[in-house]
Symmetry: C2
């Protein structure tokens, strides 16, 4: 189940219903905070970051024992969320019914905070190299740059990855004008949301933290009156 | 405001609240069907497809006259939706407050129906060449293919664009194995949802209609037990 970005207003009614009806709710601590008071009679089990496969296995074991189990993800569970680990761990657990309940992912929550930067084709790339080697991420960023697609960068920074965002922006800079708009949203769609608008030439990657989403425009994106927009239509 | 993909269960509470409080609700007829009975006291104005800029201008004129106006988009308003036209038309309408209310976009609704194909980096590309020339779409598809990103194809088919999906798949085929999974979802996240799983070698583009979303896996994506999954982690 996707909790959405954090503000309960961005949660879907299907997600709320699943939480209310659950026997057990499992999730990373931060996401469990988002849904406090919404879990009805459920037992709530908190996990640390990095324990995704343990969460998936425990969820399937509990469901196999006949309980109605909800695994929560921030945003949408399919975008770097728990839908993957749960479905990867599913073989051998025949008879368990799994439903993926979609949610508002950070890309669209951050876009809504900035204006309308995703009105044209875009790519979502995570800068975390915990599970994916950097050379794969590098290759994808080069492809996004070559295709003049709007780039949505997830996980732009964390402990031990202080340099990834600067490297990613350098790749985009090699293909795009220094005046290309860059939008940084901290806490997109949750309390404490802040927006920073800049461009590729001036943006300071040091501003990003673990709760940030960064959107880099394509060659048509503009900022006007504090709003970042990628026009849908192109002059022929 | 994003209505989500169509099933009211996938609508957010912020979107529902905006509809209930609106004086006027504007939108394309199909999306107005999604929100029937949710618009409180609002006057509801239906528009045809193609009248996006008229919708945006009318919305701003009504808001300028002091009314609380909601423009609805299917899915998320920022992803090829009405947030762009409204914000593009905003200059000259000072004093109007615009809020973009995010929603569940077709990419994540279709992914949820298929399993977890978006657990890795992905790109969203519209195959409609009404507003964007085909050579731009072609360039983006080549970039997505080169970057081994999961591809989410919006607007795969419509009247007068019967051949675009086949051409898009041919571009991906040039870079990916014929056994690469392809998932087609009709009516993702709304009544009448159907799922078709295939691969690049065997998929029939003729199956897609205007209400379809097509997701093509990357080189790690697999189908097992009727579920399409892109693993998040990669063997080093």
């Amino acid at each position: 189940v996707g909790t959405g970005p954090g503000d309960p207003g961005h949660m879907t009614s299907r997600a709320r219903q699943a939480l209310e009806e659950a026997d057990v709710v499992l999730g990373y601590g931060t996401y469990l905070e988002f849904i406090k008071g919404m879990t009805g009679h459920a037992e709530v089990l908190a996990y640390a970051m990095g324990e995704e496969m343990a969460r998936a296995r425990d969820a399937l074991a509990l469901a196999g024992a006949g309980r109605s189990v909800v695994v929560v993800s921030g945003g949408d569970p399919g975008v770097y969320g728990m839908a993957g680990p749960v479905l990867e761990a599913l073989p051998g657990h025949e008879g368990i019914q799994v439903e993926v309940v979609p949610g508002v992912t950070a890309a669209v929550a951050a876009a809504a905070a900035l204006g309308a930067p995703l009105s044209a084709d875009f790519a979502v790339v995570s800068l975390s190299d915990i599970l994916v080697p950097w050379h794969v991420i590098d290759r994808r960023l080069r492809a996004v740059a070559a295709g003049d697609m709007v780039a949505v960068l997830y996980n732009p920074r964390s402990h031990g990855r202080r340099d990834h965002l600067r490297r990613a922006l350098d790749i985009l800079k090699a293909h795009r004008s220094y005046t290309t708009p860059v939008g940084l949203v901290k806490n997109a769609g949750r309390p404490g949301q802040t927006v920073t608008l800049s461009d590729l030439g001036r943006f300071d990657p040091g501003l990003a933290d673990m709760g940030s989403t960064v959107i880099v425009g394509n060659s048509y994106t503009f900022i006007r009156g504090g709003i970042m927009v990628t026009p849908r239509g192109y002059a022929p």
